[in-house]
């Protein structure tokens, strides 16, 4: 299992557009990928679940990845939160 914290670097936080990108990204992997904010944990496959956490810019969330391809999944997720999110 891999777990890592990220600060959200996009001003509007995880709104519909970045959530779409994130969901599509996680579909490339077998691992179960979840997002945790303040003890609330959701799978990264549901728009509604992600949006209902109301993740805003500047907040910190954790990503938890578990599965046979968790290492490459973690790399892709890392790239998303450290680079791509700013540009979305």
């Amino acid at each position: 299992m891999i777990s890592k914290d990220y600060m959200i670097t996009s001003p509007q936080g995880i709104h519909a557009r970045p959530a779409t990108t994130l969901i599509r990204l996680t579909k490339n992997f077998n691992s179960t990928i979840s997002l945790k904010k303040n003890d609330k944990l959701v799978r990264l496959n549901s728009m509604l679940n992600i949006l209902s956490l109301v993740i805003k810019g500047g907040e910190t969330i954790s990503i938890i990845i578990e599965g046979d391809d968790e290492i490459i999944a973690a790399e892709a997720i890392d790239l998303f939160f450290t680079q791509q999110l700013k540009e979305i």
């Binding site: 519909a16 509604l48 949006l51 109301v54 805003k56 500047g58």
Partner: protein, 552 residues
């Protein structure tokens, strides 16, 4: 215009077989709904903006949301509800949850959820809920609400819409902005008074709807509309154009700002970042100095909006004409020559460290740089660097995340700094020339004194020589040099400054298109020639007259 609302049927399923069939029917409706959006995507690709496409992508993800399916399947199998009823109940619950959220953006998403719910329902039944109606030219739609998909597929004759519900962050409103048609959302019941064939003025800028206006108002708005379109076209054309001279030199145009709210205007006017973030507002209108966390919030909000473009943060520039009620600065004979800006910071290191720590922390979220104002000698730069090192040490001890290799630059606005630019350039990452103070100090002219305003003259050869020297020395030391004073926004000075070798111009955002227009229509060799000529002239009157010939 009212659309039929889907209704509950109350029909219950009989056995396992019909439950399985009902789930299959639901899955089938979802794939049909997704196919429909794919179809809209393909067919509107050519005349759909990026935002519209992205909203459709988002809708596809909403439709394939496993949570919605799970909840609906649960209702079908446990409560024996038919898929129509199960879906209506689930969607209604979700819409209610989102409608009650504190966050305005998330509240606006309730319309998206309703929209995708309706889309699935449409494929579960035979009824058609979307309007694909044809309209007469210049139609304004007045509706209870408009779904994102309606907005996307809206007939080209629709010139605007007003809705009772919704907000400016609804996807329908976003699409309206992308399409460039005016829309006013959230009008409330007042819209009931409007009838078919009424004449309506829709003022999307101010959020106003006029019903059957008089001739005068119509004429006024016709004029406003024309001016708006003309200005918009000009800005739009220039916004996407890169500020490159005819012979291929890239110039960087930045904006001077004071708050996070100013960021939108920076990018709307084609700015590529912030050349001067004034931090004075942070200290004004309050009773005590802002804490590190309060300051962090301020810089953070700007960093988050900066699209990772550079933002140059000027440290405290109080004193002089900018006083603080809670900071008892003694009355001075010559406040502009007194205890101000970096001089206060190097004396009250506690205040300075607090600000530096807040900036260092926020720099993780954007490309922030630090700029020191009012530098008059190299020792001040070295002292400030030591304090910056202390600020980093403190953050390390606190285990806070920050940007350790933040760039540090200085303002060149005191003549001694300009004349020793060769020395200072070795100590810092960049220069920014502040022409307002540089002019005032070089010419010994108080800008506020009405009797001598004619002496305040940025085209005085003395001022121009200083600026030229600073740019030259920055190039020699290979550090970037910008300008953030009023001269950077003066069309008369643009070619001259280009000729001197200035590459970064920072100004009030609205001036950017004007300066850009000059840059893209001239070449550097001409600018160099102009600069050479100007440098041989002995008075500002001839210089100004000469420069005017080139910008008519």
């Amino acid at each position: 215009m009212k659309k039929a609302q889907p209704a509950l049927t109350g029909i219950l399923l009989e056995d396992e077989v019909s439950i399985a069939a009902e789930i299959e029917r639901f899955d089938d409706a979802i794939s049909k709904a997704i196919n429909e959006i794919e179809f809209i995507k393909q067919n509107t690709r050519l005349n759909l903006h990026k935002q519209g496409l992205e909203i459709l992508e988002t809708q596809i993800e909403f439709l394939s949301d496993p949570q919605i399916r799970e909840d609906v399947v649960e209702k079908i199998s446990s409560d024996k509800k038919n898929s129509n009823d199960a879906l209506i109940e689930i969607i209604t619950d979700m819409v209610t949850i989102f409608e009650n959220m504190d966050d305005g953006y998330m509240r606006a998403r309730s319309a998206d959820i309703q929209d995708i719910g309706n889309r699935i329902l449409k494929h579960l039944s035979i009824a058609d809920h979307t309007f694909t109606q044809q309209f007469d030219p210049d139609t304004i739609i007045i509706a209870e609400d408009i779904s994102p998909s309606d907005a996307i597929t809206m007939d080209k004759h629709v010139t605007g819409f007003a809705t009772q519900a919704g907000s400016k962050t609804s996807h329908a409103a976003i699409i309206a902005r992308a399409k460039g048609i005016p829309a006013v959302a959230g009008c409330g019941n007042g819209l009931d008074a409007i009838n078919n064939n009424d004449i309506v003025i829709l003022d999307g800028i101010n959020g106003l709807v006029f019903v059957n206006p008089d001739q005068q108002l119509i004429a006024d708005y016709m004029q406003k509309r024309e001016a708006y379109i003309e200005n918009g076209n000009r800005l739009k054309q220039l916004k996407e154009v890169e500020p490159i001279t005819i012979d291929g030199t890239k110039i960087t145009l930045l904006a001077n700002i004071s708050t996070a709210d100013d960021m939108e205007g920076v990018f709307d006017n084609g700015g590529e970042g912030v050349g001067l973030l004034r931090t004075e507002l942070l200290f004004m209108n309050r009773d005590s100095f802002p804490t590190e966390d309060e300051q962090f919030e301020f810089y953070k909000n700007i960093a988050l909006l900066s699209k990772n473009k550079p933002v140059i943060v000027r440290t405290i520039d109080i004193g002089g004409d900018k006083q603080l009620p809670y900071f008892n600065l003694p009355e001075e004979q010559n406040p502009f020559l007194g205890y101000r800006a970096i001089r206060i910071c190097l004396d009250r290191t506690d205040l300075f460290i607090t600000q530096l720590k807040a900036i260092l922390r926020a720099a993780v979220l954007g490309d922030l740089k630090i700029m020191l104002p009012m530098i008059s000698n190299v020792q001040e730069v070295r002292d400030a660097k030591n304090i910056l090192a202390l600020a980093k040490d403190e953050l390390l001890k606190e285990n806070a995340s920050f940007k350790p290799d933040i760039e540090l630059g200085i303002m060149i606005e005191i003549p001694s700094a300009a004349i020793t630019a060769d020395i200072l350039a070795k100590e810092v990452d960049f220069f920014s020339i502040g022409t307002n103070d540089l002019c005032q100090y070089t010419l010994a002219v108080d800008r506020m004194n009405e009797k001598i305003t004619h002496l305040y003259d940025p085209f005085n050869p003395g001022v121009l020589r200083l600026i030229n020297y600073v740019i030259e020395q920055a190039h020699k030391q290979k550090i970037p040099v910008g300008m953030c004073g009023e001269m950077a926004a003066d069309p008369l000075a643009t070619l001259l400054l280009l000729g001197m070798g200035l590459t970064d111009f920072s100004m009030g955002a609205v001036a950017i298109p004007v300066i850009k227009n000059i840059i893209i229509n001239n070449d550097l060799s001409t600018a160099r020639h102009i600069c050479k000529e100007v440098m041989t002239m002995d008075n500002s009157h001839s210089i100004i007259k000469y420069l005017q010939e080139f910008i008519s």
